[in-house]
Amino acid sequence: MNWLRQRDIAIIGYAETKLTRRSGRSVLELAGEVLRSLTERTGIEAERIDGLATTQAWSEAGNPFYTSSLAEGLGLSLTWSQVTDIGGASPVGNVARAAAAIRAGMCEMVLCLNADAVSTQDFGRQTWYRTEFLEPAGFSGPLVEFAMLTNAYAHRYGSPDAALAKLAVTQRQGALNNELACEVLRRPLSEQDYLDSKFVSRPLRLLDCVMRCDGANGVLVTSTRLARELGAKKMVHPIAYRERVNFDARQTVEDITLSGFSEVGPKVLADAGMRARDVRMFHPYDDFLIVMPMKLEHIGFCGPGEGAHFILEHDIGPTGDLPINTGGGQISAGQPGLAGGGVNLVEAVRQLFGEAGSRQVPDARNALVTGMGGVQYVRNWANSCAMILEPGA
């Protein structure tokens, strides 16, 4: 049952700030820039916004009144608000939550806001299995987890290095064409530069990993009916969405490189009546390069262990047969903390609006965007979500 098949929900605008390392700016300042940009671009007055869905922010962690503080700071009065804490799956997940709230009649016009100034300040605090059973055994963060996944993947299927090098270079080219990407990352990169970058947790290299930065992004979500009434010039419909929080809770999957995408990927495609080869462009959440061959396999673009080969065999640039993360992704644009998933989402919407400039994908007829978040105890990332977007009229 695909509850989004009627195309009755519309994204009518997107906005994104420049990504900056240690900007010194606050979440509220970044959020204000997104709101201002959205109202200017769409002509929708802030007064009309009655819903707010946001991600958490490392830089504001510990504020138990987060959405109401944001509403207060931005001058919004709401009938529905929501903060979503499934990590990098939250920005895409919030579009679905906004759609459900609009459908339920709780609100009409939702600001899906993602803002974090994590490289300026980080008040995040880990608890439970992370502090009691991982850190005392030498676990120093997600890069250890993704290094272990990379090693397990390489042992099972062979080294993915050549494909990861191609991804690193292609996405870097996207960042060179994206004036909102972090300036420190807007330098040309060769495959050899990737292969020569230092090991941070062997076999994981520095250039396998995202760099944290500050930034914000957001989309405006409403009903297609209201979008038309208000004369929206452009819109994009979410036509299918699937999410899995805490994949494999009972720990019956032996292969730790398998993820929730093995479930949500095939389902989201089936919901949309599509096969993987019908996907025009792919905007996968990319905190580490290794997740991309894994996702290609789990979603069904290719078989198990064929992800690296798939990347090498296909043209993944903007004019290619399967463009991937055309704006540089988070790997080459920067990861604005918990707002990171919005980097991939907003790039997909920008492409579907036909506003990607020098990196525009021709015939941008649909996009698959994913989010992922959380690190399980010695399995994989906890949360996976996938959405298919299509331009509307």
Binding site: M148, L149, F199, S201, I256, Y377
Partner: protein, 134 residues
């Protein structure tokens, strides 16, 4: 036994039997007698549905399913230089994250048999694992 460098563990009531076991150099796992399955880390419920859970001592043997050489140390391990951590699939059927000792990145392999290793006077608050020597 704690050295000042070691950060305090934020232990929960439900994991107390585990840490009491560690103090005696015994690796204790929760066990669901109905599903006949072990689980780790300690949880308030069985992942497999039955209550109550028992505690059982693990054999201390397992198979290495992945590992990495960590070069940005966790708190308390700063003085070590690069060190190995990994996941051991214990013979009891649970995955266990551990520091790996008496091995190097280039000599150890996935699939290797592993055995528990204790060093109560050292920097580790948990057990470690090492390769089983033929």
């Amino acid at each position: 036994m704690n050295t000042p460098a070691r950060p305090a563990i934020r232990m929960t009531g439900l994991s107390k039997p585990f840490w009491d076991g560690v103090a005696e150099q015994r690796l204790l796992l929760q066990y669901d007698p109905v599903a006949r399955r072990h689980q780790f880390y300690p949880r308030p419920v069985s992942l497999y549905g039955a209550m109550p859970l028992e505690w059982r001592e693990a054999s201390g043997y397992g198979e290495l399913i992945t590992f990495t050489e960590c070069r940005s140390p966790a708190k308390g391990f700063e003085g070590l230089g690069p060190y190995l951590v990994g996941v051991v699939h214990l013979d009891e059927g649970v995955k266990f994250f551990t520091r790996i000792v008496n091995a190097t990145f280039d000599t150890i392999t996935i699939g290797q048999r592993m055995h528990i290793n204790w060093d109560p006077e050292g920097i580790d608050q948990l057990c470690r694992f090492e390769p089983v020597r033929d």
